[in-house]
């Protein structure tokens, strides 16, 4: 009986005065429906919801989301039509996020509806919205066509296509934008013959829209069109559009072309890519607007992968050289992030000839992000030419980054060190990087010290326990004598991370004494961290050793003057006892 009380409260709170309670209640609409059962959900809950459409946006958003998965609660697809009016209402509200969610849910519900309901209810709903007085409902309508269309009768299909073309010519830019954005999805659901004959002209119109913001979004439909047209039609009809876009006077349109060029190349096929799109791409790489060059530079490798080395070297590589010296740091950073991926495309000889100079140039860049981006992708180049070629230039770059005055840069390089270590091998690490890592353990910024500790753990895993014992442990353990307790805590953290990697005897003979020694520290924070660590390490050790060293140490801490130390010591003892 009492089990019903929460439900009763939940139902009451659907109409609570406080929005937060209503939100909570509406977010659990499924629970309520489940409790009421399918019958009462249909006869009571749905009518109740349809009467109460005026609420805060957050509540409406939650409702729109809930209704998307409501089909089972009303009794399956045959009753799902009941949900449509509710969602129709929500898809006309003023707030964008609510409308978008309602459209999403409408499509989710729509996909479960039987064909008859699509024809009788769903398609008419889309038509109603498309003819709505306010632009809000017309915007929502554009999202429903792709779901409705494939399952409609022929006459309805004709109607829907006509309606969509009307939406593409709507007076408000908001509706035209939505239509432009979803034209691609709609094209995928429409028969190929109509795509070419009816939708393509719409697309051409949108492409010439007065409003920049509309043309911008039309670009996004290019790919979908390319995929839903036959290769021949795509080339004959779409290619001119793409080429025109790529020279549009608005940089934002060109930017969108640049970001989508790879997909376009794939859709239009290798011949066109080589003959037409590569020149367009080169133009974008040399665009006047830095933002466009950033987008294009980021695609250098992806586009090159679609071409043969013989095409890349004369066409793309000269641009790469130019971009490496671009006036905009963001262009250079974008290039640095991907340029290493060119190495596998070009092969060893060409890489050494053409790319290595670029790498070296970028490694000397004044802007740290550029250097970081090169380093983060080093594994790519290593596979092709081996790291030795770069090692000479690499080291100064790493050193400089590790000493950069911006802590985020230092953090980034510390996080990249495991990758570097793997590429460069243990000897190189011992010689060159090891000292740098130890330095990072003593960085004034806590996040960097933490990252350095985790870095060491990764390296230890990579190079094995024996290596760690010999090359890492001594340096780390020495640092426990640092004068500042925060640094001592970093060492403790580092030890506890390494403990999982090193062989047992190293743990017992060299680590444990240090930890136990730290339990005598004068700072309580160090001491309770010792307690926490011992708790974690204990399971790694044999029982006798736990009893002999860890237990006494913790017992002592249990009598510490500091409350927190006592608390953590007791907690640790408790866990150890429990596992005994």
């Amino acid at each position: 009986m009492d089990a019903l009380l929460p439900i009763a409260i939940l139902i009451d709170e659907l109409k609570a005065e406080e929005p937060l309670r209503r939100l909570n209640s509406i977010s659990r609409l499924g629970t309520i429906a489940l409790a009421l059962g399918e019958d009462r959900t249909r006869t009571e809950l749905v009518p109740f919801l349809s009467e109460n459409v005026d609420d805060e946006d957050e509540v409406l958003l939650a409702e729109a989301e809930q209704l998307g998965s409501f089909v089972p609660y009303v009794g399956g697809p045959s009753h799902a039509y009941l949900l449509l009016p509710l969602l129709e209402n929500l898809s006309t509200v003023e707030e964008t996020v609510v409308r978008d969610k309602a459209v999403e849910s409408l499509c989710a519900v729509g996909s479960q509806l039987p064909d008859s309901t699509i024809n009788d209810a769903f398609a008419p709903l889309a038509k109603r919205l498309a003819g709505g007085e306010w632009f809000t409902s017309r915007v929502s309508a554009t999202g429903l066509f792709a779901t409705a269309y494939p399952r409609c009768t022929q006459s309805l299909k004709t109607e829907l296509r006509a309606l969509y073309s009307q939406l593409c010519r709507d007076e408000t830019p908001m509706v035209r934008r939505a239509a432009a954005q979803r034209l691609g999805a709609f094209a995928k659901s429409v028969e190929k013959e109509f795509v070419g004959r009816e939708l393509m002209p719409l697309f051409t119109d949108l492409m010439q829209d007065d409003q920049d913001s509309v043309r911008l979004l039309a670009v996004e439909s290019c790919i979908a069109f390319a995929q839903s047209l036959s290769r021949e039609d795509a080339v004959s009809q779409l290619l001119p559009v793409v080429l025109k876009f790529s020279q549009d006077k608005s940089w934002r349109v060109r930017y969108n072309v640049a970001t989508q060029l790879v997909e376009l190349c794939e859709a239009l096929g290798p011949d066109v890519t080589r003959s037409e799109l590569t020149p367009a791409f080169v133009r974008l790489l040399r665009d006047n607007e830095a933002e466009v060059r950033v987008a294009a530079a980021g695609k250098v490798s992806a586009v090159s992968k679609l071409l043969s080395p013989a095409q890349v070297i004369p066409a793309i590589l000269p641009c790469v050289g130019e971009l490496a010296m671009d006036s905009s740091q963001f262009v250079r950073a974008a290039l640095a992030g991907v340029v290493m991926e060119l190495a596998p495309v070009l092969g060893k000889a060409s890489t050494i000839e053409h790319l290595v100079p670029v790498f070296l140039q970028l490694l000397k860049d004044a802007f740290p992000d550029v250097r970081l981006n090169v380093i983060s992708k080093l594994d790519q180049v290593n596979q092709v030419i081996g790291i030795e070629l770069l090692a000479q230039s690499l080291l100064p770059a790493i050193k400089e980054l590790a000493e950069d005055k911006h802590w985020r840069v230092r953090l980034a390089i510390v996080e990249h060190i495991p990758l570097l270590a793997v590429q460069l091998g243990p000897e190189f690490f011992q010689d060159k990087l090891g000292a740098q890592c130890m330095k990072s353990l003593e960085d004034p910024v806590a996040s960097i010290r933490d990252a350095a500790a985790h870095t060491l753990q990764k390296i230890a895993k990579e190079f094995g326990g024996a290596w760690t014992k010999e090359h890492l442990m001594p340096a780390v353990l020495r640092m426990i004598n640092n004068g500042h307790y925060l640094y001592r805590m970093t060492v403790l953290l580092c030890i506890s991370l390494l403990a999982t990697v090193v062989p047992g005897d190293v743990l017992i003979n060299s680590m444990l004494p240090v930890i136990v020694g730290a339990s005598k520290d004068k700072v309580p924070n160090v001491k309770f961290n010792v307690a926490k660590m011992l708790q974690r390490i204990a399971p790694l050790l044999d029982r006798p050793i736990v009893d002999r060293t860890i237990r006494p140490c913790l017992s002592e801490l249990c009598d510490d003057g500091d409350m927190d130390v006592r608390f953590y010591a007791r907690a640790a003892l408790g866990t150890i006892d429990a596992s005994a």
């Binding site: 009986m1 009492d2 019903l4 009380l5 929460p6 439900i7 009763a8 409260i9 139902i11 009451d12 709170e13 659907l14 109409k15 609570a16 005065e17 406080e18 309670r21 409790a35 009421l36 009571e44 809950l45 109740f48 009467e51 109460n52 005026d54 006309t92 509200v93 003023e94 707030e95 964008t96 306010w134 632009f135 809000t136 408000t172 830019p173 908001m174 934008r177 007065d210 409003q211 920049d212 913001s213 006077k249 608005s250 940089w251 934002r252 006047n288 607007e289 830095a290 933002e291």
Partner: protein, 464 residues
Amino acid sequence: MAEEWQFLQCFGERTPGEEIQEADVISAVEFDDNGMHLATGDRGGRVVLFERVSPEVPRGAAFEYRYMTEFQSHEPEFDYLKSLEIEEKINKVRWCRSSNNTRMLLSTNDKTVKLWKVYEKKVALLADFNLPGGGGGGGGLAGRPPNALSTPRLSSVHLPRVTSTEVMLAARCKRVYANAHTYHINSISCNSDGETFLSADDLRVNLWNLEVTSQSFNIVDIKPSSMENLTEVITSAEFHPTECNVLAYSSSKGCIRLADMRSAALCDHHAKAFEEVESQANKSFFSEIIASISDVTFSRDGRYLLSRDYMTLKLWDVNKENAPVATYNVHEQLRAKLCDLYENDSIFDKFDCCVNGQGTAVATGSYNNLFRVFNAWGDNSGSGDQTLEASRDPMRKRLQAPPSKNNARFGSTKSAPKSPPSKWSADAAELGSDYSSKLLHLAWHPEVNVIAAAASNSLYMYCA
């Protein structure tokens, strides 16, 4: 076209001798797209909305607005990082696209732009809760004793019933666009794409998406690398009414620049610059100050730009950069008094300007609660140009002697004893003696000849 301007109505009319509260002084006036609504902002951070009564009546005395609602848009704040007080004063209000019978508008003070939604909120009265007092407040699960009354059977669990609904007008702050301006915001303007708006401060113009408050894009930045080289500031900015990529911004040097957002992400290189070179002969100590443009606005079709500097209104053809197509002297009579005006800071007053929907007439404010309406395509003879007083009798000023010089600085504008009629222009030099009663803000109805003019705390409406 010298039409008779008639008084229509007045909101917040002062009674004689009434002291004006600083917070009540109107600081922004704006009609919405079709003129069905009017918004004002004041120094107290409030926004007051008016709506048209019986829109069937096209014009004339029956053209009437009524008070709709008001809300506190901005509160005084303190920037603790910079030890700076941020006034609540509304610098600009702008109507955005609206839908579903809700009104959206942007309001801004010096630092923060806010998006407001004004809508009819349905408040439902409910009955039949499952639990006594259910729905309203209550303490949730924990607070309820599980007695027999409150543990219903499933069949008796039911949904609350709506007994009746009331409709009330509510204003809700939908979004806050903050922390993007180092200097004081002087303008906001909605874009014709219905998706973005700009906000301009002394040195930068930022572009926002209405849906996104976490980031904005800097589209114009005139800040020199060293502030010692600072020679001009942005005074006003506005989007083109139909072309979503074009914006105009004016500067303290008297230059209006047109920027095209298509050509580059950062529009530091303007597409066009409208500037009139002043002849050396007219140069004086005040030349630079009075050249500063206080307001710039596009005509409704986007063909012309209207700008206001201290002495004149200028109408520019967007296709002609080197000189305005027309210049209207607003208070040439003050030229001799620039020294006084400089001393009492009046020379820095920023007057709005506006143009009617057809682009045939322009208007701007002046001192003594006067505003001037010019025939945009007049023959420079001044015929059709009118000076009107923000009072119940707007045409009075033409027939009335200038107010005596010993008017109290904060004196009310109640009509002075009338002296024999005299042509206003003859006494022009006398005008402007009451520098405190300045009419800075006014707006022209987008479709018909109706002007809303703000004289300190009162909003006067006129039609012609």
